[in-house]
Symmetry: C2
Subunit: 316 residues, 2 copies
Amino acid sequence: MARTVDVAELVARAREGQPRAVARLISLVEDGSPQLPEVAAALAPFTGHAKVIGLTGAPGVGKSTSTNALVAAFRRQGKRVGVLAVDPSSPFSGGALLGDRVRMGDHATDPGVFIRSMATRGHLGGLSWATPQALRVLDAAGCDVVLVETVGVGQSEVEVVSLADTTIVLLAPGMGDGIQAAKAGILEIADVFVINKADRDGADVTARDLKYMISLGRRDREGPLWRPPVVKTVAARNEGLDEVVEAIEGHQRWMAEHGELEERRIRRAAAEIEAIAVERVRVRFGQTDQLAKRVVAGELDPFSAAEQLISANLGK
Amino acid sequence: MARTVDVAELVARAREGQPRAVARLISLVEDGSPQLPEVAAALAPFTGHAKVIGLTGAPGVGKSTSTNALVAAFRRQGKRVGVLAVDPSSPFSGGALLGDRVRMGDHATDPGVFIRSMATRGHLGGLSWATPQALRVLDAAGCDVVLVETVGVGQSEVEVVSLADTTIVLLAPGMGDGIQAAKAGILEIADVFVINKADRDGADVTARDLKYMISLGRRDREGPLWRPPVVKTVAARNEGLDEVVEAIEGHQRWMAEHGELEERRIRRAAAEIEAIAVERVRVRFGQTDQLAKRVVAGELDPFSAAEQLISANLGK
């Protein structure tokens, strides 16, 4: 039996910026505590302040270094910063291999920065379940900015988009050529492109190709048009990060002007509500073994079996 | 309005092995046709014969070449072979970039081979939705073996496991070192390991490391123990593929002896039924915008919103 937690007190302490209270709340979220609905209800009135920045890119482009440098840039502006590092690449073995304090050493002792690695293991739908709740914790705890960093592999990139107000796609020279970018679908998800390791050969070519792809890709879009800027950085030397922050702020201003921020947040909340509701329903379904056996035997097709499952457990 | 199809006739023609009927049925499945339940019901009595082989691995290990060579090996045994090539890496841009006939040129004109690239775009849950139905089509059409080939990136590997009777994980020398393998969780999902490009330096080291990791990883498993064999191939020169087929057959015999095949298929069907039922329920939920707006405004938390959604649409 898990210990019952005094949620109201924990939220009050998190609101005062006590790191241990914040950590405890995120743990409750991550572990899928039975008190999760209570936690969510207690947090709700204090949410909506933080800007959520998604940061994604292929392995090797320097995501952690960039996150680190971006945190420093926001800190120079006096902002409180939260970081959620999500690694969905390990569904079975689970978890980030490096400790939070090791990987974000620069900010380990800064009380204005809260860093957390999220394991997505065991969470149905990966990011879609625990991460939005962890975001709410950091938001309620007074973070002005929350950076969500993920490994750039297909599905997780899409999920970052559903979480973030502004999505940054990181590339590196030679890795981000046009076809790769188009294939990975990153043209559609990026609000800001960052070419990291821009001191390397080929950075200009990558930037030029990217701008060309952007000009092609967005031509026939409906609605207001945001043209993602392309910013060059050398994150390991802290170069170009203020420009990234400017680009983010530019995107946020554009969204505010076009009502897009509200739109995105509503879409995000809708997806979140639906995911929770679906999970609730799934629990009600209970065992499906008998139906599954009949499907395996060819006596029943899976659609008829699903209908039977619904009518037996949800009525109608 | 989509044209209504004579499903019974189409299934009859697919059962005679007519490629166009098979292709048409898979298209109905992939497009999420309203006739999908009818198709599934018509196929059910003819399913359960095909062995489903999952084939996954990181980009660059030679998946397509290996699939091609493996098809040839099964053809030498006189088996009818289906191939489903699934590329989930492109959620937005959608679809495999290469045509089916281009990528599997060797077998393009062989009537004993049916090849299909699946786009996972737009399918909720990626593979979990359309691919099992496409499998049923190939199964009912008389395929003895269906190979499901996916890009090896996290989630998709897991989904291959949920589809396949036997899962092959492809590695290449230098790419498949121990930590990488452990990190990717592939030790847990592989029934057979294939080290392709085994004529390259380091193949023996990779094989040895892998065997060592296998011996460590499976030690404390419950239930009957299958120790995945490690087979070396040079798929581009058609070397070692008969040994892969032998390893697959060995695994299938082992599963039959331990009742594991039935177990896996029941688990697979159960997941499939649940996914379909969840999708049906999701449709019933309808619009969530009003609830989402209240969540964004901090008036409501997402868990309470989900409860309201359920009680408004499903009763209770």
